[in-house]
Symmetry: C2
Subunit: 194 residues, 2 copies
């Protein structure tokens, strides 16, 4: 058992601290010392556990992707129809756990820096592909082929845009409201199809 216990705990702590510190200070300027302070550790220990600042950022982004994937699978489990499953993908993106100021903020930070760091770009693409695949699968049963891709693109861009706007907000977000609006928008687009 607990062979790697401390190692795991420190990974958790330092990734958490990274999320908080990047949100507070911005990816562009946050320092190892600031992240370490946030976790009550020293900058040197980050390198002991992660090897470099870049690898820490990569691990942090990977954590965010895992959270989103989990939220998506959770909701998929109980959804029965294509329409319900489409809404499950939407709900996952705006779930209480994910749609917070801190996470929207850091998500955008990674997003903006993805084009300049191979490792971030890879992760970013994997994530987008997954969401695209889910949308395509469910829209197949809901929308005529000639409009399907337009609608999928529109929905995905809309969701990205909501996150982008949320990242600028300095008042607490309202995930339930965001889900409701996103469902309305999706239905608005689907209506003209039946």
């Amino acid at each position: 058992m607990g062979r790697t216990r401390i190692r795991d705990i420190r990974h958790e702590e330092l990734i958490s601290a990274t999320i908080t510190a990047v949100h507070k200070r911005g990816y562009a300027v946050v320092t190892m010392a600031e992240i370490a302070a946030e976790a009550g550790a020293s900058a040197a220990s980050i390198n002991y556990y992660f090897g470099s600042k870049e690898k820490l950022m990569e691990a942090t982004m990977r954590r965010l992707l895992t959270l989103l994937k989990q939220a998506m699978l959770e909701r998929y489990a109980t959804a029965k129809s294509p329409h319900e499953r489409l809404m499950a993908v939407i709900d996952a993106n705006f779930s209480d756990r994910l749609f917070t100021n801190e996470q929207c903020s850091i998500w955008i930070q990674f997003w903006a820096n993805a084009p300049y760091a191979e490792s971030l770009q890879r992760l970013h693409r994997i994530n987008r592909s997954r969401v695209t695949a889910h949308f395509r699968a469910e829209l197949r049963a809901l929308v005529a082929e000639d409009r399907r891709e337009t609608l999928r693109e529109a929905l995905q861009c809309y969701m990205d845009g909501v996150w982008l706007e949320a990242a600028q907000s300095d008042t607490p977000l309202n995930p339930a409201q965001a889900r409701k609006e996103a469902r309305e928008v999706a239905d608005l687009m689907l209506v003209s199809q039946d």
Copy 2:
């Protein structure tokens, strides 16, 4: 006449160089020396003309906002109906002059850094307010009141999302195609209204 001629030329050149350099290297890591090299000048001359790196970034962002405003006004001039004016706002955002890899890229860079720099945040808010106001004004004649804000939000988020995605692309963008799709999306949402 030409009293401030050279000054104006240098401002132009250095802002252009900033756009290119930030696109190439990222806001997070671009240096004064790189920007200067892009313009065939020295880092010291940037400080001579702009005072500091931060002020250069602010001036560059201001230039981008001016371009967008101009594109919007140009198209507004020939639009006659609310629907045409709505499309004018959309077209402006995806005009040939603005919807390029370089500009989408730098726009996202500024966007991501706005929460951490007072001067950028101010400019960013001014811009969003302007777009919001235009949309509200035109949608008033096109959409019932109870759905108006949802639709406006959706459209704005969609457009932001398209820019965000464009910034990740490494193949040349297609502004005409983007305009066509955006119009389709807008009409799709308007259809369910009449």
